[in-house]
Structure formats: C-alpha cells, structure tokens
C-alpha cells in the first residue's frame, strides 16, 4: 500500500476517542488511510470506524479481550509487513507507550512521540513536539527512514466525523503467547467530591510548596465559591485524594472558570482542563507552558495573589 496505518484504541468494548483523532491526523498525510482494529471480536468494534476519510478497516482477531503489549506488537508487525504503510499512527497513550517504541526499535523505523503537529515536505514527514517542560517546540525529521511510527498527543486533532465509505477486510495473524497478561480492572477513586460538576475550579499545583499551605488555599476556594482541584504531585504525595486530580490520569473537567495557581502546564495536566471556558493561570515563571493554554495569565507569586483575593471575597 503506502499511505497511513492507524491502530484503533479500545477499552472494555468501546472505541476510545483518540482513535477518531488519529484518523483526522492521518488525513493530513498523503495516501490512503487504513485503520486496524486488534481485538478478540474486532467485528463488534469495526462499525464505529466508519469514519470520514477512512479508506479501509482491517479487522485483526486476537485471543486477549483487552490490550496486551506482546499481542499488539506482533499484530502491528504483521500489518506493517503485509500493508507496507509509510506512516503508522498510534495514540500517545498508556497503551501506545507500551508497544509503539518496541515496534520502532525492532523494525528500525523513524520514531517520535507526543507529536502534536504533522507536515510533509517533499514526501517526507516532519513532526512537531515539545521539549523541556513544554517550554520549547521542535520540528523533527527522519533522515533515511522510509517508514515512521508516531505517537500522537491526544486531543491535538479534532475527532473525525462519522460516516465514510471504507471497505472492510480481515487479517489473520499468529499472535502467539503473551508474556504480560491482563487479569482485571480495579477502580481506585478515593474522595467524594465530583470536580467534573463544578462551574468554578481553583486548582493548585506543586507551586504551593508545603502541605501546610493547602489549608489557606482550601479556605480561599471556599470564600470564592470555587471547588478545590489539584495537579498530580499533590495526590502522589498523599496530600489530597485522587478524586480532586485534574488530568490524563485524573478527571477531565470543563468548568466555566479554571483558576490555576502554581501549575506548570505539563501535557498530562492540560489534557484534563484545556476544554474549560476560561482559564486563568498564576505562575512565577514567565515561560511556564500553562501560559500557552490559559486565556489570562499573571506572572506573580500565588501566595501574594491569594492574600489579595482573600480581601476581595
């Protein structure tokens, strides 16, 4: 073939949003778009892949019900061998991280992860990603590589619309035994607040420094009529239950107003809050990545601002 191969991502029987975003990205690259769905019952998921711009859906039946890295790796290697795509697109997700780099290392492919923009120049792919805490961007090229495997940042592309005109086919692969086997899922939410229901979130990050400082900010949130949310390090440290965590491994929130104090704006944090109506960020570092996503920003000490806010509410 040539063209682009997208591997669909699914969990507990449902297609994940990132799949439709990958299709949109694939359409920016030359050649036909093929989406592979690797699952125990791929036919059940295939209809959801009837998306605008998809030329073909390949159903790959494998034994395990959920993602298993070895199985996905072998299935993808077989797909690459049979179809010969120029580009392979996976999500920069926990699953994608679990097998994409292995396939690239094994087959000697061009590789980049957390890519958020794509271009082609003279037929070659150029990928854009960030470095150094999101403070700088860089364009990557893949000299001498005829084939690239890219992990794309979730939410960076709009999801592809439903209803295309793909053809459907099946591919048999010898997936073999799996050395890391799915056993179970467990839900581990602690805490009883539903931060996804709040109109106004006051979110604090590692910039607060000490656990003792949380109390003052909790009080401020209450005065302002906001619900307190946090970035991940505060949950890791055991300062707050994970029900309050915003981000990729926490909650996705869309409040009317998101006031972020002392949060740097790591990609996994932004993933959970960039859909907020108005984002206001206070950070002492003028180069903090969060200022790239916030609508309003102040380069200021959060405690000094908090003290002034106390007077106004």
């Amino acid at each position: 073939m040539s063209g682009t191969l997208v591997v669909a991502e699914h969990l507990r029987g449902a297609l994940r949003d990132v799949t439709r975003e990958l299709v949109t990205a694939a359409r920016e690259l030359p050649g036909p778009v093929t989406v592979a769905v690797i699952a125990r019952d791929p036919a059940a998921l295939a209809p959801a892949l009837d998306l605008a711009g998809v030329d073909e859906v390949v159903r790959v039946a494998v034994e395990p019900e959920e993602f298993e890295a070895d199985v996905y790796q072998r299935a993808l290697e077989a797909l690459i061998e049979v179809r010969g795509p120029d580009a392979i697109l996976l999500g920069f997700t926990v699953n994608g991280m679990g097998y994409g780099p292995a396939v690239a290392a094994k087959l000697g492919l061009g590789f980049a992860s957390d890519v958020f923009a794509l271009a082609t120049e003279n037929g070659a792919v150029v990928a854009t990603r960030a470095f150094y805490g999101g403070k700088v961007h860089a364009e990557l090229e893949f000299p001498g590589k005829e084939r690239v495997l890219l992990l794309l940042r979730p939410t960076a592309w709009a999801p592809a619309e439903r209803e295309g005109s793909p053809t459907f086919s099946d591919l048999e692969v010898e997936a073999g035994p799996s050395r890391a086997r799915h056993r179970d899922f467990v839900e581990v939410t602690q805490g009883d607040v539903d931060i996804t229901a709040a109109d106004f979130l006051l979110a604090v990050g590692r910039g607060i420094g000490e656990r003792e400082n949380l109390e003052e900010l909790e009080r401020l949130a209450e005065r302002m009529g906001a619900t307190l949310a946090v970035s991940r390090p505060l949950v890791d440290a055991g300062w707050m239950p994970n029900a309050r965590q915003v981000g990729q491994s926490g909650k996705t929130v869309k409040p009317k107003l998101y006031l972020a104090l002392g949060i740097s704006g790591a990609v996994q944090h932004l993933a959970g809050m960039k859909g907020a109506g108005t984002i206001v960020a206070v950070n002492t570092d003028p180069e903090a990545a969060i200022f790239g996503t916030a609508h309003f920003g102040a380069v200021a000490d959060l405690f000094e601002v908090a003290e002034e806010l106390e007077k106004l509410f």
Binding site: L11, A69, V94, M97, G98, Y99, G100, P101, A102, A104, A105, K106, G110, F111, A112, S113, D114, F131, Y132, G133, K135, V136, H137, A138, E139, R179, R181, H182, R183, D184, F185, V186, E187, V188, D199, F200, R232, P233, V235, N242, Q245, S249, G250, K256, L257, T278, V280, P286, E287, A289, F291, G292, T293, A294, F296, A298, V299, D301, V305, L312
Partner: protein, 251 residues
Amino acid sequence: MRIVVCVKQVAVLGDEVEFTDNERDVDPDYLESALNEWDAFAAEEALQIRERLGDGEVVVVTSGPEGAEQALRRCLAMGADRAIRVDSDAGPGDPISLARSLAGAVEGEAADLVLCGVQSSDAVQAATGTALAELLGLPRVAVVRKIDWAGTGPATVHRELEGGLVEVVEVDTPALLTIQTGINAPRYANLRAIKQAEQREIQVVPAEGGETSAKIRRMFGPPRGEGAELIEGGPAEVARRIAELVRERLQ
C-alpha cells in the same frame, strides 16, 4: 536477584531561553540539571524490593556525558549497590538510539527486573523503556503503580490507565517495567551518604552505535499569539482582575 534501574540526569529550563547557533537545542548555559523525577521513584522501588526480599543487588545505569553521573551518585547515596555510565552524548530527540546505547550495558547485568521511569521530564518521550525491553527481548509493562513479586516467577503489577483506571497485569520475569510517580515515597539521602557517594567508583563503558530514528532540525519558542492575555501589575491588580473574571464568567 539483581535489579537494574535506568536513570537520567534531566535538563531543567529556567525562566529564560536561548538556543544554540544551529537552533537544534537550547543553549546549555540556560539549563540546570536534576535526577529525573520518575527515576527517583524507580530507584526507590528497586531498593524497597531488595529490602523486602532481604538480598540482591541494585545497579543503576545511565547513558550520557560525565555530568550525567550526578544521577548515579544520587542513587548510590539512596542505597544503590553499583553504578554504570554508558559514555554517550545523545541529544533529547531520539529515544530509540538512546535505548540502543543502554542495551549492551543492561544486558550484561542479566537482571531479574529492569526498571525505568515512565518518562523523562525534559524529553517526555515515554519510549526509552519500551524500546529497551524490545532490544533485550524482555516482556514489559508501561506505567506501573504497584509491584507484587516474590523474587522469582511472574510478578503481579498494577498498570495505570487514563482516568486513573488501574489494570492488574501478570508479567513473566525477567521483565522491564516503567515506573509511575506515586508508587512509593522516594527516600532522601543523608549528607554522609551523599559525601560517600561522591567517592564511589563508577564503571564507564562505551556506547554502542546505531542509526538515528529521529533528528531535531529546528527548536524554537512556542509561537506567540497562542499565549495568554497578560494581567499586568502587582498582586493587588492581579487579584482585582481575577475577581472581575469570576463575576463575568460565572453568570
């Protein structure tokens, strides 16, 4: 029982940026360095497993120039038994080549477990561990929050998915696991241990070559105009503007 932990001295960019003349990286004068946050959790986990099992060895490995040895010394101070530096000067853009540079040294240790961090904070590739596992022929699990392992045979681990959902995975060993923050509380080394670690010998081995998988052709500041509207003034003005926004936007 032997656990190898791959650790990186990451670059931290302060509040000012200048680029090198070829525009392929940030001018090193603007970078500070620290042990990668994820790797502190990985090193701690290895030490805790060793302590739990009552025997075994923890070997820390890094790939980089001499300055990267700081990461190794920090782990030695925490309690690691030995340290190896692969002498390389790879930039931040190519995790597959980086994994290739590590593979020989890690393989030579014939470890029962290899631990990496989920990601390095400066490059955010989240790729080196998984690529390394492939090069070593090891099963692997990415983004691990809990390890249950008796020292031999399969380990039961918790893999953290999006939204905080946890998956229980049974993995054959030897295996490579990438460690997520929050799995433990990394210990601080005391001053004496830090001093002692300064004197410890670090084995230096040459890097294995290999083709590049990606090359940075241009690095630049994020495009302006994407940024936030700046609220000017001191804390009082900032607070006033925020209060205004609260009233406006919460109608």
